[in-house]
């Protein structure tokens, strides 16, 4: 198993009456709710937590991209990953990911990911999401019905740019470059491992399977509701004649660990409530721009999407609802280990993106939960997939000999 400690970086200072006074946490959220002075502390606390996770033995530390979103304060995940590249030395840098249809020209992603891979000594795990409608269409203005075509073209450009050993011309519909020449190139050959975060588009399954990319299902509704979707993915894997390595798939799971079940509730219930009540309060008119999903996907999932829309009414979910419904895995280390195993086996995933900082959880509680998971839960889950224990196709391959940042003021900086 590979465990990535993932921080969505939510804004922790939304008011108690946020849901009543504001229609959406995303796209047109009131800019006055953001305070950059408080933000200074928030960013640095969150980055410290990611670095702490490396020290505790998590395999990866993860960041992602959102725009105009108060539960995801990372418009540029690459800036976050760059700071982490210097202050960490071992963990995979899981950038999940860059919404490649949004970069103009998309060669920028090839360049920045290469920079991260080189600075970190080959620790990059690269993600290429299509992006949510809120980010891609409403906040970043991409035409919904053309987003997937633009994404596919950007993907082709980036992969060719990484693999080409001489400059080439790229005559795309959306990007025309007379000279494509990616300097620098990534350390990992032929390219860093690629994870595709998906929200249930059937086309994305085949795209991952055909390229041997790992498919990551990111949801906040837990593994019981993910089962049908992931079963669909594994059916496609089998139908296309690929092996069933669990590392072909990942799942994001909100996790809260206490010394006991009771302590977990006492410590974390209010922060889960903050997350599900305020952070997921998205105006439904921004949820799915017409044309963003393909007709095939709508037909495959129209009714389940309607059900999901109903499930998005998170506001009144109690601790018990969230736990019993397995939206969240929470409790003592034993409880969490047992449910994690059920999730991992049920969905057949080798990559877990552990969402342990939740909503407005303060630093001490986040570290407490993070440490308990690392020390008392993770060891018991490591070897769930013995038959694939040597499968490293979907994870980064760092250099054996990596340069460490020299101590500041040591006089050694220029030799480093």
């Amino acid at each position: 198993m590979k465990f990535t400690w993932f921080n969505l970086m939510p804004w922790p200072h939304m008011p108690d009456d946020f849901r009543e006074k504001h229609r959406s946490v995303w796209v047109d959220i009131d800019p006055k709710l953001y305070d950059p002075v408080l933000g200074h502390e928030v960013y640095n606390t969150y980055l410290d937590q990611l670095e702490y996770a490396e020290a505790l033995g998590y395999d990866g530390i993860g960041v992602n991209e959102h725009h105009a979103n108060a539960y995801g304060l990372m418009p540029s995940p690459n800036i976050m990953a760059a700071t982490l590249a210097r202050r960490t030395s071992r963990a995979g840098l899981v950038v999940l990911g860059n919404s490649i249809a949004l970069y103009n020209p998309p060669i920028r992603v090839a360049e920045e990911f290469a920079m991260l891979d080189v600075i970190s000594g080959g620790r990059l795990v690269a993600g290429f999401p299509v992006g949510t409608s809120m980010d891609t269409n409403y906040a970043y203005g991409q035409i919904p019905a053309l987003t997937r075509e633009k994404y596919a073209e950007a993907h082709e450009l980036i992969m060719r740019a990484w693999e080409a050993d001489e400059p080439f011309a790229f005559n795309g519909r959306y990007t025309k470059l007379r000279y494509v020449n990616c300097w620098p190139k990534p350390i990992q050959k032929p390219h860093p491992p690629i994870h595709i975060p998906g929200g249930g588009s059937v086309e994305t399954y085949d795209f991952c399977i055909d390229h041997d990319y790992s498919y990551s299902y990111l949801s906040f509704t837990g593994y019981l509701r993910a089962k049908q979707l992931m079963d669909g993915y594994w059916e496609r894997v089998a139908a296309r004649g690929k092996d069933d390595s669990p590392y072909r798939a990942g799942f994001a799971q909100t996790i809260c660990v206490g010394e006991t079940d009771k302590e977990a509730e006492e410590l974390y219930a209010e922060h889960l409530h903050y997350f599900y009540n305020r952070c997921l309060h998205v105006y439904p008119g921004f949820a799915d721009a017409p044309g963003y999903r393909t007709i095939k996907t709508i037909k495959a999932g129209a009714l389940s999407q309607l059900n999901a829309a109903q499930l998005m009414q998170f506001g009144n979910l109690s601790w018990k609802d969230l736990i019993d419904g397995r939206y969240v895995i929470a409790g003592s280390p034993d409880t969490v280990r047992e449910q994690m195993e059920e999730m991992i086996k049920g969905l057949r995933v080798g990559n877990v993106f552990a969402l342990i900082h939740v909503g407005n959880m303060p630093n001490e509680k986040t570290r407490h939960s993070t440490k308990l998971f690392a020390e008392k839960v993770m060891p018991g889950l490591r070897d769930i997939w013995p038959e694939y224990k040597d499968d490293d196709r979907f994870w980064c391959h760092p250099l054996e000999q990596r340069v460490q940042p020299a101590p500041i003021g040591s006089g050694l900086e220029q030799q480093a």
Partner: protein
């Protein structure tokens, strides 16, 4: 028995286009807005009282095909000219509502000699920072009647006619239909319905009539002045007790205005 005849025509590009047809007299082509035609569309029926009316559906609307290869304003403009040609029409009166008005204005600007009479009904295509157009794509279905109609209650009844939203199957069909239509419309309307038309309006030579609903809350009537100022010799008329769905709300007044052109 429907009041409208219906057939498909094929364009040289291979798109198969649903066209409704009725009436006799001078030929008139009506281009629908982003919401498409209503069943037995009452405005098309009204036009047929005085004209031989042809109402083609854009790819993505009803069973018209060919949307995959249409990506931008020029493509959609030339496609629509192809449809007029495939119908065997020469310089018909060209009438467009909302998105259809945007397309009609583009056709008249791109090929000025091919359009003699042009009627733009609450057309899209311009943008004014002082009077921003509401975001059709960030609007929930139940919010639409207030935006589109002078009388939202009448509008709500019209928009939901024949739809049973307690039937999950019907609801799923509606989602597919809506996604196909607005996915196509988004290619020229999303995120801002401006594809540079203001730079081309000067080319229009057609006798042009611009009609606006006095209480249009989607595209405010001030846009009518902008169109009128940009198209030489054009006439602007504002019609009372009508919103953005002017052709549905005041079909008789619109027909009389068109017939006077």
């Amino acid at each position: 028995m429907s009041a409208l005849g219906s057939r498909t025509v094929e364009t040289p590009r291979g798109a198969k286009i649903r066209v409704y047809e009725a009436g006799s007299g001078d030929p008139l082509v009506f281009l629908h807005g982003a919401g498409g035609l209503l069943p037995d569309d009452p405005f098309v029926v009204k036009l047929a009282e005085r004209f031989h009316v042809f109402a083609p559906c854009l790819p993505g609307y009803e069973d018209s095909t060919g949307e995959e290869d249409l990506r931008d304003m020029l493509g959609i403009t030339l496609h629509t000219a192809d449809v007029v040609e495939a119908l065997g029409l020469e310089r018909p009166t060209l009438v467009g509502h909302s998105m259809g008005g945007m397309i009609a204005a583009e056709m008249a600007a791109v090929a000025p000699a091919s359009v003699e009479r042009l009627v733009l009904i609450c057309p899209a295509g311009l943008w004014d920072d002082e009077q921003p157009i509401a975001d059709l794509f960030g609007t929930l279905p139940f919010e639409l009647p207030a935006l589109l109609f002078h009388d939202p209650e009448v509008g709500a009844a019209l928009l939901t006619a024949g739809l049973d939203f307690t039937d999950m199957g019907a609801l799923a069909d509606f989602m597919v239909t809506n996604s196909k239509r607005l996915g196509m419309a988004g290619k020229i309307l999303f995120p801002i319905p401006d594809r540079g038309l203001s730079e081309r309006l000067y080319r229009i030579q057609a006798r042009t009539l611009i009609l606006w609903g006095e209480s249009d809350k989607l595209i405010p009537p001030s846009y009518g002045n902008a169109f009128q100022a940009a198209i030489a010799g054009s006439e602007l008329r504002t019609i009372a007790e009508a919103g953005h769905m002017l052709p549905i709300e005041q079909p008789q007044a619109v027909l009389e205005a068109i017939a006077s052109l």
